[in-house]
Amino acid sequence: MGVDILPLVTSIVTFYGIYLILALSFNIEYGFAGQPNFGKVFFYSIGAYVAGNFTANMLMRASGVTGVDFCSDLAAEVRFKVAMSKPWLIIALFLLSLLIAAAVGGVFGYLTSYPALRLSGDFLAIVLLAFGEIGRVFARNYTPLVCGVYGLSGVPNPLVWIGDPRMARLAYSAIVLAIAFGMYLLTERLVNSPYGRLLKSIRDDELVSSVMGKVTPRVKGSALIIGSSMAAVAGVLYAFYVQTVVADDFIPIVTFVVVTMVMLGGVANNKGTLLGAMVMTLMDRLTRASFLRILGISVGFDISYVRYIVTGLLIILILMVKPEGLISEKPLKTPAIEEAEKLS
């Protein structure tokens, strides 16, 4: 009956990793390029659909089992067995899923740039929000994708062959965190590169940038492609983590959580995003009745609703105390500026 800290660690690390990627992608799109992509959950879901559908189909093919309904729980069992016996296959499928999803996400990001370049801020946000819901309603009705309302189960953890499922989960969460951190480093590089400065300059004054001879629509579009591609990668990581892909999980609230992370942490600052994602993750995981019990606190009533209220209050409070977010936007960092700072 003792406390078992392992599932909590896996839970926090994986959730943080996945949402960090989403938050970073929103930060690139909104913070640096000024495009509020409120269709975040749509691109996230694309990754999950691609990973689920592709992996499940390939595993079924590899199993040689025919005549089993793709969506059935029996098929899910078959897929787990194949993954158990063929480590290289499931790892290959995982890596391929990441690549394919990133590509597909990028394509959808490119398509999104069409409305994005025509609409201004708040309109774009709502139109993309609508995009996300259209995607969800379509996926829940179109069964071949991820089994519609039933959801597709049997997308095995890529490390399932380790044998000990608890270790497999832990190792997988480490992979998620590593990928998320890699994404962070890449994002940092990107936004401190000439490209990042260009994004910021367009965000702050598009006219000036275009006068300087930059093709601003193309640059803005490219930010959406990068962001969507990242969100799709997060979707793949999510699918292999939950091992079930259900269209109805991809509701607008996911986007709101991501937006809140970025706004709380500080716009156009990746360190802020790290912090904002951490605050929201811990808010979600450490205010639960289960965690309070670990601390020895026993509550006499159901705290689920209270948790949501406290989350809401925290959002309001942080925005009031730190209107710029927890960490505000830093000036540009270039080798030249660094040298200059050293001199002075």
């Binding site: 009956m1 392992l6 309302v149 039933y150 959801g151 079930t244 639960r288 289960s290 606190i297 026993s298």
Partner: protein, 448 residues
């Protein structure tokens, strides 16, 4: 700078104020509970024929428990927001009531064991369910009541198996989840039996054409598809289906389409409507249907989820009550439908919460009882041991939702279905039992 400081001060003051308002609201609600009679003393506990063999060898580690008391946590992974915003709290309350009753029993017997509920909102999503289970697992929980929906159960299955956590779902009905030797148990029958019984009842009452209006989710689709298959193949009937997206603000357009479909079917004495709905959507649909002349003249059948006090007065508006009586809304519910435990549960639930339990609350109550009893029977707080004894405990258990024998997959073994319809007796609306569908013989018989 001064401006900024001022803003900050205001901000803090505002948040504090908002907090006070909030707390005042909650305090008001807490201090003004619904008028209820004094909580009844512990009445007859559910019929239990399990030898309780709990030993004191377990090391008590639970925090905040009085000396000498051994506290076992029971996780409640029950969604109370999103799609379950209305229905979830009812089931959570039923499970809490069960744990309270078990504790009363243990206290009266002088046992040192107590059960402690820990509730997690699983939000009705796969991600929410996994997160809830992870949190419960971290707190050392080995026995969980929930999750509610099949898609949540499917999502937590591999986690539960890996961490040896027994999950007892009060309401997951997808037939596909019937897997032997896993940590998932379900105290409710799968959709197959209900669809089978429904198709037979509808056919034997002489209806050959059915228009279905149902929730497009795993619950609604499960029943609708199975019903359609059986009704057309076995009974040679005609079925038209209208599946709607759940959680929309309004369904008037869907109801109009339903009326057109019923007209296409002939809208005669051989045409019927089958509604598969939850609370909010069901009431909305019935509210529109009662105004429609075509839909008012055909017979209506309903899924078991329609047998809820919400659908008849005094809970429902009188006009909806009149409608369901006039179209002879008929449905099924697993039996044995009423027994002393059922009565006891209803009485206790009403006196404690001031509201009537919903049909699946009975199952949540039984799931929680089974969870506690199995821990007691196992003699230790261990998932593997609980999993082993649970089928035997269930076999000897009759609860608020009837006899709970499980089949080889850990799901509730088939039982009979009672056929109910809504009637008005002495000005009071009631679900009246008018017949029975036998699981063993697959025969329908009507009373009187």
């Amino acid at each position: 700078m001064a401006e900024e400081k001022k803003g900050l001060k205001y901000g803090l003051a505002a948040s504090v104020l908002l907090n006070i308002i909030l707390l005042a609201g909650v305090a008001w609600a807490l201090t003004h509970p619904k008028v209820v009679e004094k909580p009844a003393p512990a009445g007859p506990a559910p019929t239990v024929t399990v030898t309780v063999t709990a030993t004191k060898t377990v090391t008590p580690t639970a925090p905040a428990a009085p000396a000498g008391i051994i506290e076992y946590p029971i996780g409640l992974a029950i969604a109370v927001s999103g799609p379950y915003a209305v229905e979830g709290p009812y089931r959570r309350d039923a499970a809490l009531l069960a744990i309270e009753h078990v504790n009363k029993m243990l206290e009266a017997a002088g046992s040192p064991i107590r059960f402690k509920p820990i509730h997690e909102d699983s939000k009705g999503t796969a991600e929410g369910a996994i997160a809830a289970l992870e949190a419960l697992a971290a707190a050392g929980v080995k026995v969980v009541v929930g999750p509610l929906s099949s898609k949540e159960v499917r999502a937590v299955k591999s986690f539960a198996d890996a961490h040896k956590i027994v999950c007892i779902s009060p309401s997951s009905t997808a037939p596909g989840l019937a897997v032997p030797d896993d940590y998932i148990f379900r105290v409710v029958q799968t959709d197959v039996a209900q669809a089978k019984a429904l198709a037979q009842v509808v056919a034997e009452l002489g209806y050959t054409k059915v228009a279905i209006i149902g929730r497009d989710d795993d619950y609604g689709r499960g029943i609708a598809d199975m019903f359609e298959k059986l009704f057309t193949e076995k009974y040679g009937g005609t079925v038209k289906k209208l599946m709607y997206t759940p959680d929309l603000p309004d369904y008037s357009t869907e109801v109009q389409r339903l009326a057109e479909m019923v007209s296409d079917l002939g809208a005669d004495e051989k045409t019927a409507v089958l509604i598969i709905a939850f609370d909010a959507d069901g009431l909305n649909i019935l509210g529109h249907a009662r105004l429609n002349p075509v839909l008012s003249k055909v017979r209506w059948f309903g899924s078991e989820s329609l047998k809820r006090p919400t659908f008849i007065p005094p809970k429902a508006p009188a006009e909806i009550g009149e409608f369901v009586v006039s179209v002879k809304l008929t449905g099924l519910f697993p039996s044995p439908e009423r027994n002393p435990v059922t009565e006891f549960f209803e009485k206790e639930y009403r006196s404690k919460y001031g509201k009537d339990p919903t049909p699946y609350s009975y199952y949540a109550y039984d799931a929680a009882w089974l969870a506690c009893l199995s821990v007691l029977a196992a003699g230790k707080y261990d998932g593997e041991a609980v999993k082993k004894v649970l089928p035997t405990v269930a076999e000897k258990y009759i609860g608020a939702s009837g006899y709970k024998k499980l089949d080889e997959n850990g799901d509730c073994a088939g039982s009979d279905y009672r056929i109910w319809t809504v009637v008005v007796e002495a000005g009071e609306y009631k679900f009246k039992e008018v017949g029975v569908w036998s699981f063993a013989t697959e025969k329908v018989s009507f009373f009187g």
